[in-house]
Symmetry: C2
Subunit: 409 residues, 2 copies
């Protein structure tokens, strides 16, 4: 597997376009389209929030119930189309109809994504006008993918893309994706918005299985603020243009594909966590030597979601007591008297901060220097088994509060 520079247009036959449709008050790109002329097998995971946005309901029905393949995704920012009742669903369908008409396909071959403020109805004149502008602008270029990744941003500070290339039985396959999400990030069953395209040939069942498997260890292991969005959606579209023999079982080809999908989803997930609203650093927590994986997951996630730990990381404060506290209230049992905690960062000497239930003397200056890095890694060793898990989050900053106290204005 080779990491390549790319995004949603890396895989053969996928095009993208984006433009400023005027959905947001500012004159910036706010709508994007991804399109494959060849129909795509599709898999998706969606928010577990009881309150589901209209586009989630629309996409989920297509992905889970309708057997047909899809051709396109349209994503708008500015308005989430959540909490909008039956009118919201009607406007979502109208968006799909307009897209289908412009592309000469069926409305149920169009997936919709929306992100932004919860509550208001979509600004349809802007959306419809945007779609008209998007279709003639569709392009397979690298640039088109990047602009699409930028158009779906809300409070994100930079676009998130990742792409890889690998061989399946002599055929070259590409897989690339884009994602957005900065606040209201605590995916459960999936994340905010993520779109991955690939030219592999794979059955729908195998595509969904690979996606569901990798999401459990990637997008579902990040959190910015503990708030699981109403709009979380992660879609993978596979158009088969790589012309490999279709993957229909969990064979060697499937393993190669799943490894590539894992890489792309993990990188996108890490990018979301590291670009959490107002964050200054990526916070990675490894829980190792646990008796079972689920326990390791719960503990790792409890650490990276702890408000107090996040604030301490912002202050470059090696306040390991908050890590210990967050593990303690996570809801799972472990023996604090067996626990070791370490801090790591690239190029820094590891700091062993807690051993067998008591503090280890360390230099506050060295700890502060380590915590100033862009990625801080906390490792908690339970010494009770062999299972492990990793979760990703970010620090809690003044800027997070500023962004969210004033998001709508």
């Amino acid at each position: 597997m080779k990491i390549i520079d790319g995004g949603v247009t890396s895989a053969k036959g996928f095009q993208a376009a984006s433009c400023a449709a005027g959905i947001k008050s500012q004159d910036r790109p706010d709508i994007a389209m991804v399109y494959s002329a060849k129909p795509c097998t599709v898999a998706g995971t969606f928010t577990s929030n009881v309150v589901k946005a209209a586009p989630v309901l629309w996409d989920r029905k297509i992905v889970r119930e309708d057997a047909e393949k899809v051709h396109a995704v349209v994503v708008n920012t500015g308005i989430a189309n959540a909490g909008t009742g039956s009118e919201g669903l009607r406007l979502c369908r109208e968006t799909a109809q307009k897209t289908a008409e412009a592309l000469g396909i069926d409305e149920r071959q169009v997936l919709i994504g929306s992100t932004g403020v919860i509550g208001p109805q979509l600004n349809m004149p802007a959306i419809l006008n945007g779609i008209e502008k998007l279709v003639p602008g569709l392009s397979e270029s690298r640039e088109a993918a990047r602009l699409a990744a930028e158009a779906i941003m809300t409070t994100d500070t930079h676009p998130k893309e990742c792409a890889v290339e690998f061989d399946v039985a002599g055929k070259t396959v590409r897989l690339g994706g884009m994602a957005k999400g900065s606040g209201m990030i605590h995916p459960n069953m999936c994340t905010m918005l993520g779109y991955i395209t690939t030219d592999i040939s794979i059955s729908k069942d195998m595509l969904q299985k690979a996606l569901s498997d990798v999401v459990a260890d990637t997008f579902n292991m990040i959190s910015v603020d503990g708030d699981t969005s109403t709009n979380d959606t992660l879609i993978v579209m596979a158009n088969g243009e790589a012309e490999n023999t279709e993957i229909r079982s969990e064979d060697g080809d499937y393993a190669i594909f799943k490894e590539a999908l894992f890489h792309v989803t993990r990188e996108l997930a890490r990018m979301l966590a590291g670009d959490g609203e107002g964050s200054t650093k990526l916070l990675t927590c490894n829980v190792i030597n646990a008796s079972d994986k689920n326990k390791a997951k719960i503990l790792a996630k409890s650490v990276i979601t702890s408000t107090l730990t996040k604030a301490a990381m912002y202050g470059n404060d090696a306040n390991w007591g908050r890590i210990l506290c967050a593990m303690g209230y996570s809801g799972v049992q472990f023996d604090p008297e067996l626990l070791d905690i370490y801090f790591d960062a690239e190029g820094c000497k590891r700091i062993h901060i807690y051993h067998d239930g008591e503090t280890v003397p360390y230099s506050e200056d060295e700890a502060t220097a380590l915590l100033k890095h862009e990625e801080v890694i906390i490792t908690a060793d339970l010494k009770e088994g062999t299972a492990e898990s990793t979760a990703w989050g970010c620090d809690l900053t003044h800027e997070y509060v500023s962004i969210n106290a004033d998001y709508r204005s």
Copy 2:
């Protein structure tokens, strides 16, 4: 029941003292003692955190296992004595021994509370010196109670006290308490530190039952930051000096006492939530007309713990979508299409903001004016039953981040 000005010395026979022992670097009161010459029946609830501070282990054993009555509580701030291993337990016992010696009682008649930084061992010369100073200063005065409530503060901005007076079968009974807690507040089974004294005569079983019952709807329904502390402790001491016939069953006298205890615990809990670190307002969420009480509790708590809702409240932003979202990811089912949401504040016209799954037009100016009040009440009407619950929290502010990014320095 009459609300009176008072605290831990309101009930007959209870004395308090406090002083600056030098545990904290700043020259401010950091140790307090509450004492009753007459032995007290005692009840308590403690943190559910797997990592329990040494004083929690000490108190819990006395309250749950030892039949004897207690005489005193000693509380220090500055150091939490958590994550301190067997040495921490030894120093906790040494504190109790010194107190017992000074008061002429048994060491297992002394409860200990600690709050502050997790990790360091207690500064014993300061603690022992402080205890020596406290004993001669014990006083039944109103002022002594207030100074004790101040001495146990950490990042609290004001002391929390509440007291009531009521009659039980012709005898006047008093019940008063103090509490502290501003960060790491998400009590589960109890809160940070709370001490309530009463001169009622009541059996240990009935005292514990009343406490456990009221805590479920008061201290366990508040959150500042979602972090359940290692030190949460709530203690009630009853010395019987009111000379009522001892309460031994759930009779009418018990109901009167429980109502008084509910009032004092609820007021102290509300004070903790309203004085959450950096907060500018108290956030109250009522969930009404739920199919069962547990569901109402989970929903109310999910709203007041939502980081995004808390940030919106700080910004006086009627961003009801975040309330809807927080209810949706709480983990319980409800029908969003039946939901109504209201905002209330003292002296303001109620704002009906969400009705049957869709937004209701409202004035942003009126909403902003309402949200600027010191207490903002969010009511969510599920229209599915008759159960209800209330939770209390606070807004998330720049000041919260400042306090917690820099707590140890």
